[in-house]
Amino acid sequence: MNKGVVFWIGCFVFLFYGAVAVCAPILAPYDPYAITGPPLKHPDSEHPLGTNATGQDILSQLIYGTRVTLLVGFCAAAISCCIGTLLGIETGYYGRIFDEVVMRIIDIVMTIPLFPLLLVLTLFFTPGIFTTAVLMGVLGSTRGIRVIRSQVISIRHATFIEGARAIGEKDHQIMYRHILPNILPLVTVKFVSSMQHYLLLGVGLSFLGLGDPMVIDWGQMIEQAYSSGGFALGLWWWLLPPGLAVVGISLALALLGYSSEEIINPRLLVNRL
């Protein structure tokens, strides 16, 4: 399948979700928190997706939920990538003891499974979207650090880096003027795939009730649908939409990540004969 097509599909879907998140107040027919109808109403012209157990409009909740879900994923990915890049460059460039110490710490953190660790940690902090995002970002950055570090190590010995040192560039100048631009493609791709990962993680956490109970997002919606007997009562209009929404954005991000690798990297090689 043509990589370009894949990229544009992913891009389009992602931007669509983004637009929905931004324009939520305009698109949603009602305030998602307001009780606008009788509970558990079937879909009709007033409430295209019906209402939930409290009487809130499901469609509006779905639209507004886009915001939180995307935001959590984006923030966590951003934090993870920033930490990963920073530490990756510093450990990859300097090496030796600093590198050893940081790597061992990361090894230890990595052996602890992320999800249970998050579960435990969220209990200590007041739940909130940003807490969740920060925790996920910090803990999840371990994977990114490794990958970025190895690319940095392979570039570190390149002749043009030696040349930069010979000119008398300071270490941090070399790291951020030379190494960073060269690993930017890798970082970008990681960012996109991280976003997918953290988004799903965020949904999972809020499904378990560990997200912010004050805000509505898809995980919470699915949980509510489930615990209100959605399966038993066959309330597919409540269960399916948030689930499908998650699948949709997850796929879009996966496609984006998959296709952007090719587009970004070989660009420099494509013209060599």
């Binding site: 390149a158 002749t159 040349g163 008398g168 560039e169 030379h178 631009p181």
Partner: protein, 268 residues
Amino acid sequence: MIKFDTITKTYSSGYFSRAEKKAVINATLTIQKGETLGLVGESGCGKSTLGRIAIRLIEPSGGKVLFDGIDLTAQSKYALRKVRPRMQIVFQDPDTVLDPRMTVGNSIAEPIRIWQHPGRHETMDAVMELLLTVGLQPDLISRYPFELSGGQKQRVALARALALDPEFIVADEPTSALDLSVQAQVLSLLRDIQKKRNLTLLFISHDLQVIQSMADRVAVMKEGMILEIQKTSDLFTSPEHPYTRQLIAAAYESEVWFGKPRDTFQSW
């Protein structure tokens, strides 16, 4: 001007193992100001390592390097940085010497920007001038390395090395990866620039013909040790060390030595 005093460089693998590789063993060498010293030897003999030690890009395990009286090996990192603009290096592989994500103009401007902090226009002018010095058209300023040929990239690397007006340049096999006619262009360029600016040059190569035509004096290296040092003409007419003789004989044998009498080496 440059003085190597019993330089040794030993590489050890791993933290606890005893496996050692002696890249350079007790190298002692002097290079006079304005002179071109050729350093010749097979690959792996340590000449590239010695070249990098000359400007302390690699730390020697032992010995001293004196640059115009300054003991480089004793300098702190900060003080060393200050000396760096006076000594530069040109590397072998043109494909990796330039940052693939920087334009030619930016690569050349970089040393100027770091040390001199001039305005935008002055930098541009300086870069253009440097490009002309190395025989390149100024319109290459906005090109990326992948758009250039090997010879052009090597010239850009040379322009960058000249940007800070150094007194000493280490040329580590600068033309080994280039075609014959391009090699001729780059070598004659290097020779001209050296004459004009009265540069001291440490020219490293495995190609004896190139060394013979570029260097005033030649040092022969093998397995980390300097075997002999002589004036170029003397080395080729009466080499002392048997290894040198072997190299010269091989060079004469394999090269198209047209027009030149071969009996100079037949005599020994």
